[in-house]
């Protein structure tokens, strides 16, 4: 018999996400996937899943979930003040939810997204090899949409069945690893493919400015508010492929950071690109958060990613 999760309250925007579907750019389909992939990966490690197993991504305000047959769970990412049958449970730690226990999560106390990982993963039919919800096209995940009250989610088979795995051993992510991986508000960037089309004055403003994350930000892109950059008004550039984390400047002179459910091509010039090591930080930005950009060179971007991956691969990450 497979285990299930009953969705009693979905929260503001809760979707099934894994690490996304790469390789469909030639069809205009972006990868989607977890907005904070580091939090997803660590949550899956805590419950004994492969890194890319599907889990629930909650946004700003979490949901209420019941486990009729119980489940091993872990909450990672932002702190949504989770309780299990009204007793507070820790973040970044595996928890043994007993049959009929209720997990409640509330409004965020830190970042934007909290992940609920379950041993055995959330079982959904993959679309193009991934269980990630792609909201724009209404595909993947749970019926291609955000969760609703009353949804029943299937938990995949755990081998061996977890109830026979005795005793349950609590696992937790070590504190100084979390310290290294904590989301940043100063995003490190490399130069964008059109950075030379911006004047020195524009680039100076860009690197000195504090921007505010706008309300209309979502998984497709983060819109920023702040001092507009002077832009070159000589015609539009020809549409080209755009990368995850690209910082494009609109004709109004304001940045948009392309995010996991990004358009695959675009026609705005890109002044910079957030480095891969800081993608997870993007996933934890909330509307009205204030951020800055810090330029780094190509080698630093590579070293920072390598360091992050080395930390994630370390045996001493989990106790």
């Amino acid at each position: 018999m497979s285990l299930i999760i009953e969705v009693q309250a979905p929260g503001l925007l809760t979707t099934v996400q894994d690490l996304g579907r790469e390789g469909f750019g030639p069809r205009g389909v972006s990868p989607s996937g977890a907005a904070d992939p580091v939090a997803l990966r660590l949550g899956n490690r805590l419950v004994g899943n492969p890194d890319g197993a599907a889990a629930l991504e909650m946004t700003l305000l979490g949901g209420t979930f019941v486990f009729p047959e119980g489940a091993i769970i872990a909450l990672t990412g932002a702190d949504f003040g989770a309780t299990l049958d009204d007793a507070a449970i820790p973040q970044w730690t595996s928890v043994d939810a007993r049959a009929r226990q209720t997990l409640r999560t509330g409004a965020t106390r830190s970042g934007a997204r909290c992940y609920l990982c379950v041993a055995g993963k959330i079982e959904e039919n993959p679309f193009l090899g991934s269980a990630s919800t792609h909201l724009l096209s209404g595909l993947g995940g749970h019926q291609g949409r955000a969760l609703r009250k009353g949804d029943l989610l299937k938990i995949g088979n755990v081998n061996p069945p977890f109830r026979e795995r005795t005793p349950f051993r609590k696992r937790t992510i070590v504190a100084n690893a979390l310290q290294h991986l904590r989301p940043r508000k100063v995003l490190r960037v490399t130069t964008g493919p059109q950075h030379e089309s911006f004047t020195d004055a524009a680039q100076n403003i860009f690197h000195a400015a504090t921007y505010r994350v706008a309300e209309e930000s979502n998984r497709m892109g983060l819109r920023l508010e702040g001092a507009p950059l002077p832009v070159d008004e000589r015609g539009e550039m020809i549409t080209e492929g755009v990368s995850l984390g690209a910082v494009q400047i609109t004709p109004a002179g304001l940045p948009i950071i392309l995010f996991v459910e990004q358009q695959t091509t675009g026609g705005y010039p890109k002044i910079a690109n957030v480095i891969s090591a800081d993608f997870s930080s993007l996933g934890q930005l909330r509307p009205r958060d204030e951020i800055r950009f810090e330029p780094v060179d190509w080698e630093s971007a590579r070293v920072l990613l390598l360091e992050q991956e080395t930390l994630l691969a370390s045996d001493e990450l989990i106790v």
Partner: protein, 250 residues
């Protein structure tokens, strides 16, 4: 050095895990800020399709995604496995062999469109802008065989060109918050069909009853890169009937 030139292409770093390959060699007759168009754009796009085809038949391990466009391909790679300069060198080998890649005989597809009224809310304005009638706009839009330069933006969106000179119109300064699926629009010298409801700034001439994004099909879309496309005007009644049929099949 971020830019280098080899085999008629240039490379620009897009992010710490991606590289743009451009086939738009500077032309002394073309001011730097004006994009390619006409014959040179079609030729550049043929190279885009050849590179895509070559990378599809002989994939490079660690290349994770490709985003083709008019005259460029964005190559996304595993940054733990490849440095930009190594990927560039690898891609150069592919570029040397581009001329050996035969492009398939293009398919010709016809897309029925019901023009005007609430299905094409910008038809009259476009006509007025160019000092012609709505009928002339429809006549011009349906008289050209377009090339599918690439699929991009959102799943199933095909960038078609080039629009007849007399229809070239800038996009709306402020995009609409919601453009219905199937809307047929124009922007600059391009035309295309919105596959799903999205925000959009293109000027809407009409709507097709056909589903553009087809997740159940192999190619995922009605149109594929390199296809040729013609639009055909249909009546309100034909639109309703075909839309009914399309929904039955969906």
């Amino acid at each position: 050095m971020l830019i280098s030139s080899v085999a008629g292409a240039r490379f620009v770093r897009s992010s710490d895990q991606s590289l743009l390959v451009y086939f738009d060699q500077p032309d002394k007759n073309r001011p730097k800020h004006l994009p390619l168009q006409g014959k040179s754009l079609v030729e550049a796009n043929e190279n885009v399709r050849r590179l895509l085809q070559l990378l599809d038949s002989q994939p490079i391990a660690g290349v994770r995604n490709l985003h083709p466009a008019y005259c460029s391909v964005l190559v996304k790679f595993d940054a733990l496995q490849w440095r930009h300069e190594e990927m560039e060198e690898k891609l150069r080998e592919y570029l040397q062999r581009l001329h050996e890649v035969p492009l398939p005989e293009p398919r010709l597809l016809e897309i029925p469109v019901c023009y005007g009224e609430e299905l094409g809310p910008d038809l009259q304005d476009v006509a007025a802008t160019h000092g012609i009638t709505s009928e002339q706009v429809i006549q011009l839009h349906t008289s050209t065989t377009y090339l599918v330069y690439f699929l991009g933006f959102v799943p199933g969106f095909a960038y078609l060109g080039e629009l007849p000179e007399a229809l070239v119109t800038p996009r709306h300064a402020t995009p609409r918050r919601k453009v219905p699926a199937g809307s047929v629009g124009i922007a600059g010298n391009q035309t295309g069909v919105y596959p799903c409801e999205t925000p959009g700034g293109w000027r809407l001439l009409g709507r097709t009853p056909l589903a553009m994004f087809r997740p159940e099909q192999d190619g995922l879309s009605l149109l594929a890169i390199g296809d040729r496309v013609r639009f055909k005007a249909i009546s309100r009644e034909q639109f309703a009937a075909q839309q009914f049929e399309a929904r039955l099949n969906a």
